[in-house]
Symmetry: C2
Subunit: 155 residues, 2 copies
DNA sequence: CCGGTAATTGAAATTCTTTCTCAGCTAGAA
DNA sequence: TTCTAGCTGAGAAAGAATTTCAATTACCGG
């Protein structure tokens, strides 16, 4: 029923990583993981909290922050500024993660491109730097906003 | 004497851009520009403020924020999270800007690499995205910290 | 060189975000 | 079922960023 999220989240990639690392899979935590995995992959703690409360009403904001911290520590999320230049966003990641961020509507498109990965790695190696993860953000106008003369389609 | 900063800052790239855009070149503002241009290219507003006060004692923190906002608006700086995952950093930029960020000591190394630029542009173009600027962050361990077993050399 | 004026300023208040503390609760191993 | 280390939410606190406002100032035009 309304608790479906527990089973779904429990089977997810994030939950399994937390479990492997020795963290308990509690209700509040699973709600946060569910939100991150099924609803928002690019979100501020506040947004995660708002969605999470809808799923698990007793959820506290502290738990959202704590869970995001754990995910970051495990390399499953990272803090980033995407566009709005002020809110703290945390996003899923896989050691490498490339974004197209629209200046006009804020839309974020994930891109996967091995060539960038290779190039970045060889570049780092050439400078004696041992890379752990890499993130590229390309800002500009999405296809939709290039046509539109004016403002945001969403929000 | 102690006012050298005014002339130096006034002749800088940032001041000239602000002037062109119609902003006044005031003492406090020039102090901030001086700091950004001559002392810190990757800094938090707080750090900019601290250095700025040394140059222009009456400087207010609000002015630092306001100046950083203007620079961002003009595309001369950008907000970013680099490493510490919590402080707001603003950095200079030139439409493209690539960083090596050390997980251990926090050192930030600028890298310029045309191949990345080309690759990113062609990638974006292929997806109908019109790029304006691009930023790559590679996290990992700098040469120094690969050797060291433990903690930060700086700070 | 000298006003006049709109832009800019710092301080303080305010708001927003993040972290900390702590007493009670709970997942999960045994 | 029991036990306990780990986890929880609430509220307090700390930190960052923004807003407000009366006083000041850059700089254009005269
Ligand atoms: Zn768009
Ligand atoms: Zn993404
Ligand atoms: Zn280092
Ligand atoms: Zn840089």
């Amino acid at each position: 029923m309304t608790d479906d999220y527990v089973e779904i989240a429990r089977q997810g990639r994030l939950a399994s990583a937390l479990h492997t690392a020795g963290y308990k899979l509690t209700g509040p935590r699973l709600a946060v993981l569910y939100v991150l995995e099924m609803e928002l992959c690019h979100a501020s703690p506040q947004e995660v909290y708002e969605r999470g409360v809808a799923i698990y009403p007793a959820l506290g904001l502290s738990t959202v922050y704590r869970t995001l911290d754990i995910l970051t520590e495990l390399g499953l999320a990272r803090p980033a500024y995407l566009g709005d230049a002020s809110q703290r966003f945390t996003v899923h990641h896989d050691q490498r993660h490339y974004h197209l961020v629209c200046d006009a509507c804020g839309a974020i498109t994930d891109v996967d491109e091995d060539r960038i990965t290779e190039l970045a790695c060889s570049l780092a190696a050439g400078l004696g730097f041992k890379p752990r993860g890499q993130y590229l953000e390309i800002y500009g106008l999405c296809q939709h906003c290039q046509a539109q003369p004016a403002r945001p389609p969403v929000n």
